[in-house]
């Protein structure tokens, strides 16, 4: 599979994974939405291969899609958690 197709599949799967996560944890405002979406898609594209290897899935198109979607879904929640922790540790003005 060529590089652009692989990126395209990861991008689409990451987007769908982020959409699934959005259903369970809607963002607070527009800025939160775009931050989480960007983080999820980036994480899905960059980390789907290590996640697939860690889960010991064979390298197939379906498994690449599943790994990208799963990574994006988990990243959405992770980003929300990071923002909450940073907010809690930020000094109160």
């Amino acid at each position: 599979m060529d590089f652009l197709s692989a990126i395209g599949i990861k991008l689409a799967s990451s987007f769908l994974g982020a959409v699934m996560a959005l259903v369970f944890q809607p963002p607070k405002n527009n800025a939160d939405f775009w931050t989480r979406l960007g983080f999820s898609i980036l994480a899905g594209i960059l980390f789907s291969d290590p996640v697939r290897d860690w889960l010991k899935w064979p390298v197939t198109t379906e498994n690449n899609m599943a790994a990208a979607g799963l990574t994006a879904l988990l990243s959405w929640w992770l980003m929300g958690a990071v923002v909450r922790v940073v907010g809690a540790w930020k000094p109160k003005e």
Binding site: M20, V23, L55, E62, A66, L70
Partner: protein, 165 residues
């Protein structure tokens, strides 16, 4: 059409009958039926990850409800029920991908059918209540009760979508 699809269609017709005149409620019934039809159509093709497509269809309805809901019951009851269907689909998919324990197909289908019935009951019930417009606040009992809960769920939605914040 299988017996389950006929039953869902029949249930949709009955719920629409109860909520007749309340076009928002009937719209939600149509959304459920379209969601189900698309999911079943993909399932019948035999292509892989049918549960993912079913979950995405349910998630789409969730997002439509999130965007267009006006009353609390649409967010607190209807949205949560469709969310439940997304969760069931995701858990079944996770089982098939060996990330989580496998769920039996009969259990998976049964859970979805139960949630479908709950959705139709809630749309028919709240749709009918909205239609009757029984909003005599004086007659609401002071102590907490199921009736107060129903009245509260028919109030205007409290939390706006994130793009309106």
């Amino acid at each position: 059409m299988s017996i389950f699809q006929l039953a869902l269609l029949g249930g949709g017709v009955i719920a629409a009958f109860f909520a007749w005149g309340n076009w928002r409620a009937i719209g939600w019934i149509v959304a459920l039926l379209i969601d189900h039809a698309v999911s079943v159509a993909y399932w019948d093709t035999g292509l892989p990850y049918a549960e993912l497509v079913a979950g995405l269809c349910d998630a789409s309805v969730c997002l439509v409800i999130y965007a267009l809901a006006r009353a609390e019951w649409e967010i607190k009851v209807l949205y949560r029920l469709f969310q439940g269907m997304v969760l069931v689909n995701m858990l079944y998919l996770a089982g098939n991908l060996d990330i989580a324990p496998k769920i039996d197909h009969v259990v998976y289908s049964s859970l979805l059918e139960v949630i479908n019935v709950l959705i139709l009951l809630s749309i028919g019930g709240f749709g009918r209540l909205e239609r009757i417009e029984n909003r005599d606040v004086v007659s609401v009992p002071a102590r907490p009760s199921l009736y107060r809960t129903f009245v509260a769920l028919r109030e205007r939605r409290k939390k706006a979508p994130f793009w309106e914040v």
